[in-house]
């Protein structure tokens, strides 16, 4: 029974890990109205070494970027990447994945 408990606890802890341990950055963008627009953003941000995951929500006009653990992109770089993609930055919001603290 004790062994079963340890196994279950280990499995629970394993699945309790976040998908990526780094920072999450939410970027609001103007002009993001089509699938090809979203693909451009995905390609440009996806080429950054610090980026682990990227998701584009056309309805919310929101780019959600998951950073690799211990890495980030500063606001200036994010603004430049949005502009390089062909769109206009509205706002940047940073969320710590582990602590859940908004900045």
């Amino acid at each position: 029974m004790k062994r079963l408990f340890i196994v279950l606890a280990s499995v629970t802890l394993l699945f309790a890990q976040p998908a990526f341990a780094g920072e999450t950055v939410r970027v609001n963008v103007n002009g993001l109205v089509c699938d090809f627009c979203a693909r451009a953003v995905e390609k440009v941000f996806g080429g950054q070494a610090a980026v682990e995951t990227i998701a584009v929500d056309l309805s919310a006009k929101l780019i959600t970027i998951g950073m690799k653990d211990g890495q980030t992109l500063d606001d200036g770089t994010i603004t430049k990447l949005v502009n390089d993609s062909g769109y206009a930055l509205v706002s940047i919001e940073r969320v710590e994945a582990a602590g859940g603290q908004d900045q």
């Binding site: 090809f36 627009c37 451009a40 440009v44 062909g86």
Partner: protein, 216 residues
């Protein structure tokens, strides 16, 4: 590539829409490949975008009325983009220079002429509606010296999210003052998903419009 081979390839893929609905410029480092077919022409295109503001590449177009092919280097330039919260508008300039080759006769005696073209387009779209206008002036010696323009309106029957199959119902009007039928109207369907875009329609003259594009 032999001229006749290009014409055959273009016809086989079937395509035209010289501005390619403004998808000829992609993201930095992106490549777009297009084929186009209308009642007027067949085209094969490949462009590289160093930035999101311009692209440079090859355009091969076989024009049916004059029975000639233009091989050209084309520059597509996004002169202005208006990024709004729920919509986007663009003003593009395009130009190309190359050579026009007649399709009549044997290879050794085909007529050849320098060729150039210039034009622009403007479009506006949100996730439900689309409007655009484009024009082009072409000079190709004895083969061509003409002005063309076209306009489109479109509506999306549903609004898709990123990665969904997107569908648009569109109406295109083409005006070519010197053509046998100066005005043609083409209802068409546009669909795109992932890196691919396809358009298909039939004009009021019975000509098929087909356009395929992929981005890398």
């Amino acid at each position: 590539m032999r001229i006749s081979s290009l014409s055959f390839l273009c016809a086989a893929f079937g395509l035209y829409a010289w501005a390619a609905e403004a998808r000829d410029i992609t993201y930095p480092g992106g490549i777009s490949v297009m084929t186009m077919n209308t009642g007027d022409m067949n085209g094969l295109y490949g462009f590289y975008s160093p930035t999101a503001r311009y692209s440079l590449g090859y355009a091969g177009e076989y024009w049916r009325d004059g029975d000639y092919t233009i091989h050209s280097v084309r520059l597509n330039y996004l002169a202005k983009r208006w990024n709004n919260p729920d919509s986007q508008a663009n003003f593009y300039l395009r130009s190309g220079v190359g050579m026009a080759y007649g399709e009549e006769g044997e290879d050794s005696d085909r007529e050849i002429s320098p060729a150039a073209y210039i034009g622009g387009s403007i479009d506006w779209e949100d996730r439900r509606f689309y409007v655009s206008y484009e024009n082009r002036y072409t000079y190709a010696g004895d083969f061509d010296d003409s002005f063309k323009q076209s306009a489109r309106v479109g509506v999306a029957p549903y609004v898709g999210e990123f990665g969904d199959l997107h569908t648009w119902l569109m109406l295109q009007a083409d005006h070519e003052p010197e053509a046998e039928h100066p005005v043609t109207v083409t209802p068409l369907v546009r669909m795109f998903k992932g890196a691919h875009l396809v358009e298909a329609g039939v004009s009021n003259q019975g000509d098929v419009l087909f356009h395929w594009m992929v981005q890398f």
